[in-house]
C-alpha cells in the first residue's frame, strides 16, 4: 500500500440523473452470535448513516460473512438488535427485510433471461405489469445492458453478469445493499472498472451499502468508512485515512498496509513529548498526543514510508545497516538491519540523480514526523 493519502472515494451524484431515493440508516446493537460453543461474533455495534458506503474488512474467518447473513436475515443472532431507520427488524424474515444482496458468484437465475432476472423482485412484490416493464427498462438503461435483455446469464461475461446482479438488486429499491465479495471473481482490470461503476451507481441511487471484503485496497478505495474485523470483533470503525494513519489496535496496523513492529520502552515523558528507547538500539522522540499504553513495554508500529534516512546520527534516531535494496517502481524499498535479530522495511521516494543507498552502508533512521507512528502494548 503505497498511497497514504487515499483518493477520496466520494463521487458526487450528477444532477442529471434520476432523483435518488433517500437512503436508510442501519444500526447494529450489541450483536453476538455463537455457533455451538464457538463465539463467531461479539460486541458488534455499528451505526451506518443513510447513503453511506461501508466496508467490513477482515481476513477469512473473522465473522464478516456471518455478520452479513445476520443483517440480511438468513441467520438470527444469539443476541442483539438490528435496526433499519430505527425500527427493529430482527423478527423479519429475509424476504420482508428489504435488504438487497449481490453475491460473490452473482447468483443470477440461470433459467431466466436478463430481463426476467431483473423483473423477479418486482413481480414478487406484486407490481403491476406496466410498472414492472418500466422499471426493468430503467434498470437496464442504468447498467447499460438494454441490448442484452433477452440473453441468459450463461451468455454474459463476468462484468455483465455483475451488472445484472446489481440491477436486479436495485430494481426493488432495497433499504440496504449488501455486497458479498462481489469483485473477487473478476480479473484485475475489470475489477477496478466495476468498483468505480458500482460505487457511482450506488451513490447516484443514494443506497446505503455494505461491502464485505478481505481486500484492503478495495475497501480503502470504495468506502466512506471501514469496519476492520478480526476474530468476531470490530477493531476499528473509521474513514480509510483514520484506519491507515491512526490504527487503533495492533491487528489493524498490521492487517492494513505494511508495518514495522519494534519492541521498545518508554523512558521519559514530559509535557511535550515521549522519549522511547527502541530495544536493539536507538531512541525516538514522539509527540505527546500519541496515546501511550499503560505498560512501559511497548511495540512501536512504523510504516515503511514514515522513516527518513539520514547519513549522520542525530539525538533521536535508530542506527542500521542497509541489507537489501529493491527498486519497486515509484519507490525504493530497503531492508535495514537495526539489531542482530531485527530488520525493518523502509521505502524512500525514487528521485533521478540521487544515488540509492549502498548495500552495507550505515544509516540512521528518523521518524518522518513525531506523529508518524502508533504505539501498542507489547504483551500480546
Amino acid at each position: 500500500m503505497e498511497s497514504v493519502e487515499q483518493i477520496s472515494p466520494l463521487i458526487a451524484p450528477s444532477a442529471t440523473q434520476a432523483i435518488p431515493h433517500v437512503g436508510h440508516s442501519l444500526a447494529l446493537e450489541q450483536i453476538m452470535h455463537r455457533f455451538g460453543a464457538m463465539v463467531a461474533l461479539q460486541n458488534i455495534n455499528l451505526n451506518i448513516k443513510p447513503g453511506e458506503f461501508v466496508s467490513l474488512l477482515g481476513p477469512s474467518g473473522c465473522g464478516k460473512t456471518t455478520l452479513l447473513r445476520i443483517i440480511s436475515g438468513f441467520l438470527t443472532p444469539t443476541s442483539g438488535q438490528i435496526r433499519i431507520d430505527g425500527q427493529p427488524v430482527s423478527a423479519l424474515p429475509p424476504n420482508q427485510r428489504g435488504v438487497g444482496i449481490v453475491f460473490q458468484n452473482y447468483a443470477l437465475f440461470p433459467h431466466m433471461s436478463v430481463w426476467d432476472n431483473i423483473a423477479y423482485g418486482l413481480r414478487a412484490k406484486g407490481t403491476a405489469r406496466g410498472r414492472v416493464s418500466n422499471k426493468v427498462g430503467e434498470m437496464l438503461e442504468l447498467v447499460q445492458l438494454g441490448h442484452l435483455a433477452k440473453r441468459y446469464p450463461s451468455e454474459l461475461s463476468g462484468g455483465q453478469q455483475q451488472r445484472v446482479a446489481i440491477a436486479r438488486a436495485l430494481a426493488v429499491e432495497p433499504k440496504l445493499m449488501l455486497l458479498d465479495e462481489p469483485f473477487s471473481a473478476l480479473d484485475k482490470n475489470l475489477r477496478l472498472d466495476m468498483q468505480i461503476e458500482i460505487r457511482r451507481l450506488l451513490t447516484e441511487q443514494g443506497v446505503t451499502a455494505i461491502l464485505v471484503t478481505h481486500d484492503q485496497e478495495e475497501a480503502m478505495s470504495m468506502s466512506d468508512r471501514i469496519a476492520v474485523m478480526s476474530q468476531g470483533e470490530i477493531h476499528q470503525f473509521g474513514s480509510p485515512s483514520q484506519i491507515y494513519d491512526q490504527p487503533s489496535t495492533l491487528f489493524v496496523s498490521t492487517f492494513v498496509g505494511t508495518c514495522n513492529l519494534l519492541p521498545a520502552q518508554v523512558i521519559e515523558q514530559d509535557s511535550a513529548s515521549h522519549l522511547i528507547q527502541v530495544l536493539g538500539g536507538g531512541r525516538l522522540l514522539l509527540a505527546k498526543d500519541i496515546s501511550l499504553p499503560s505498560d512501559r513495554h511497548i511495540l512501536i508500529a512504523v510504516r515503511p514510508e514514515n522513516f527518513r534516512v539520514q547519513s549522520e546520527p542525530s539525538s533521536h534516531c535508530i542506527p542500521g545497516t542497509v541489507e537489501i535494496c529493491l527498486p519497486l517502481g515509484a519507490v525504493m524499498t530497503y531492508e535495514i538491519r537495526i539489531a542482530p535479530d531485527t530488520k525493518v522495511k523502509v521505502t524512500q521516494p525514487r528521485i533521478p540523480g540521487v544515488a540509492p543507498l549502498a548495500l552495507g552502508e550505515t544509516i540512521y533512521l528518523e521518524l518522518a514526523s513525531s506523529r508518524a507512528c502508533s504505539l501498542f502494548p507489547a504483551n500480546r
Binding site: 440480511s72 424476504n95 458468484n105 423477479y120 441468459y152
Partner: protein, 281 residues
Amino acid sequence: MKIPKLFAPRESQLALPLAIFLHLFYVAPLIVLLASSFQSREGGVSLGQYLQFFQDAVNLKVLADTFWLGVQVTIGCLILGYPVAYLYHYTPAKWKGILTFLILLPLLTSSVVRTFGWVVILGRQGLMNSFLQSFGLIEEPIRLLFTHKGVMIAMTQIWLPLMILPIIASLAQIDPRLAAASASLGGGAWRTFWQITLPLTLPGIISGCLLVFALTVSSFVTPSIIGGGQVMYMPTLIYQQGVVLLNRPFAAAISAILLVMVLIVVFAFSALGQRSREYVR
C-alpha cells in the same frame, strides 16, 4: 518384451470389452428379433405380424393399457417422490445415511418378494381391505388384486427410488445462493419453489420420469402376479405369444411395437428436457 499395440489402451479401447459384450448379447439379438418380426406365416418377408396386431382391438387395448399404466405410475412416482427428494436435500448430513437406506430399501429386495408382499396387502382379506373396513370407510372389501389399480399401486412403490434418486442429484446441483437471492428480492418460500427450485430440477424430473416409464411398461413379474392373468400388458402378451403359444414372429412384432413406444416417449421427454438442461451449467 514389447507390449502389443492392442494392450496399450487408448481411452476408446478401454470400452472395448463392454462394446463386444453389448454387441454380442444386445445388438445382435435385437437384430434377430426385428428380423423375425417381419417373417410371414409362410416364411417370406411381410408386415403381416404388425397388421395382425393393429387389426385386433384386444391388442390395441393392451397397448393402450400399458401406455396408460406407464403414465399413471410415472405421475404417481413423481408426486410421491419429489417431496421425499426435497426432504432428503434439506435433511442434516447425519440423518442422510438413514434416509438413503430407506429410499434404496425397495431396490435391495427381489421384485418377486416385493410383489408377493403386495399380494398380501392388496388381497381380499389383505391389510388394505381390513384397514379400510376397521375404520368403517368401506363395507365390502374392494377388489384390488388382479386389477389395473392394484398393478399401478404396486409398481409405483417398486419404482419410486428411481424417481427420487435423479431428483436428489439435480437438487444437489442447485446453488443454494439462488434461493437466498430469491428471498432477498422479496420472494416467499412458494415463489422460490415454483420459480427457481422446480424449473432447475427439471433435468432430474425428466430422467426420473424416463426411467420409471421405461421400466414400468417393460415390467413382467409384477404385472403377471398382481394382474394374475386378468389384466394384460405388453410384456405379458409377449410372454403369452412367444413362450406359451410359440408364435415367435408375432411376439417379436409386439416387442418391436413396445420398443417403439418407449423410444417415442424417450425422444419426447428429451426434447422437453433439452432447453432446461442448457441453463444448468
